[in-house]
């Protein structure tokens, strides 16, 4: 099969601005989502994910405007996560030009929301984000689902949760290791493997990427269909194109520029 493994840069957006230090030297405004998205598009990103971390509710609409602006200029799939609570939230984001929405906390609070959303909009646009932290140790690893950006433990087993979300109609899973997120130590590969073995859905690996080898490991050892990373791209360590060249050198099918 020649389906390419996807490389997905992730941007944190707060009140309409890209935050967490995108550091391109040759970009005029590193806080402008359109400019940053355009840059990643040119580098060959297969999708772009926006994580809306806007805290104040009266600025919630800003992400809709961000999506509208980006979707008018960048013609690759866009995913938006963060703060999605109602079908109406999904509707507005899709209307604005998003292709998928990523849902975490609301899925835990009301799993049936995933079924409703999937029936209403089609499962192709419903991504369930699973933030998982190690609970078991050593020989018998287990992972627990967390919500609210890793603050709240749920007691739910991450692998069982992945299966349940598949049954309820998720179209894709975005699996983030909360132990690895921000460490640059690489993905939690046993976590990725446990989930990719458990479901037939595409799985995006996230959390911990520090080197290009980590991306390749996520696919070859973790079984991921796509890899998501933030800082290695934002800080200019590597371009998306370099990431893909490296993955290709390790035998992974990727979409390369002509």
């Amino acid at each position: 099969m020649s389906l390419a493994c996807r490389v997905i840069p992730c941007l944190d957006v707060d009140a309409g601005r890209v935050v967490k230090g995108v550091q391109f030297v040759d970009i005029r405004d590193a806080g402008d989502p359109v400019e940053v998205a355009r840059r990643y598009d040119r580098q060959g990103a297969d999708e772009i994910t926006f994580l809306d971390i806007t805290a104040s509710s009266d600025q919630r609409d800003t992400i809709v405007h961000v999506v509208e602006a980006v979707a008018g200029e960048v013609f690759i799939p866009l995913t938006v996560g963060g703060g999605i609570r109602r079908l109406e939230d999904i509707h507005r984001l899709l209307e604005a030009g998003a292709d998928k929405v990523s849902i975490n906390t609301t899925a835990v609070r009301n799993p049936d929301f995933i079924r409703e959303a999937s029936e209403h909009f089609g499962n192709q646009c419903i991504v369930v984000a699973i933030d998982a932290k190690r609970a078991g140790d050593g020989d018998d690893p287990r992972w627990e689902v967390f919500t609210h950006g890793g603050r709240n433990a749920t007691g739910i087993d991450a692998v069982e949760w992945a299966r349940r979300m598949e049954d309820l109609g998720a179209g894709e899973l975005l699996v983030t290791s909360m132990d690895r997120d921000g460490t640059r130590d690489g993905f939690d590969l046993p976590l990725m493997r446990a989930i990719t073995d458990a479901v037939s859905l595409p799985v995006i690996a996230s959390g911990g990427v520090g080197t290009l080898d980590h991306l390749a490991d996520g696919v070859l050892d973790g079984g991921a269909d796509a890899v998501l990373a933030a800082s290695i791209f934002h800080f200019g360590d590597h371009t998306v194109e370099e990431a893909k060249q490296h993955m290709a050198s390790r035998g992974i099918s990727v979409r390369l520029p002509v």
């Binding site: 389906l3 008018g72 030009g97 292709d99 192709q124 799985v203």
Partner: protein
Amino acid sequence: MPAVVIVNLGTGNLRSVRKALEHVGADEVLVSGNPSDIRNAGHLVLPGQGAIGTWMRQLEHNEELGAAVRERLAPEAGPVLGICLGLQALYDASEENGGTRCLGILEGAVRRFDADPRSAGAADATPRRKIPHMGWNQVRQESAHPLWRGIDDGRRFYFVHSYYAESDDADHVAGTCEYGNRFIAAAARDNLFATQFHPEKSQRDGLQLLTNFIHWNGVSQPCS
């Protein structure tokens, strides 16, 4: 030039299609479910996401709209581009939603991907298939067509679907793609061109295909 009209059946995101057409230079792009707009369109786009049962119901419940769309699918009626469900709907029937009768313009059927392609006769080494088929896959151009102009054979386009079209009639197959089994990625007949992939999300090659479409006169002779 008369407007490019995107048929609005109220099912899904049409903004990206509109933006992409504007981006490649379409003068006027209308998103409309109005039968007279559809009849008067210069170029017609038939997009679709989600469930085909819902999509076909919209056409059937609104008889005048359904009639206008069918008129535009006639060979002399001007260029039409189907996208995703807009390809699947052209065939006789789909397995989706417990079996859905489609428009029957092209001979063939729409089936669900089997999670284990090995049961369909693929080699044992074939990895388990994830569903939906989501991401960038290579399209083999099976025939010369004005809409392929400027796009190299084997380029990748963005797909997201769980059902695929297959047909015994090879004449209308303009492109195929491999995902455990080979399926129809693009169909062409007379004034119709339809893609299973999303040109509006397929970056440069997708935009090239849309550019070719808005400059196409609806005659599927290869232009040299």
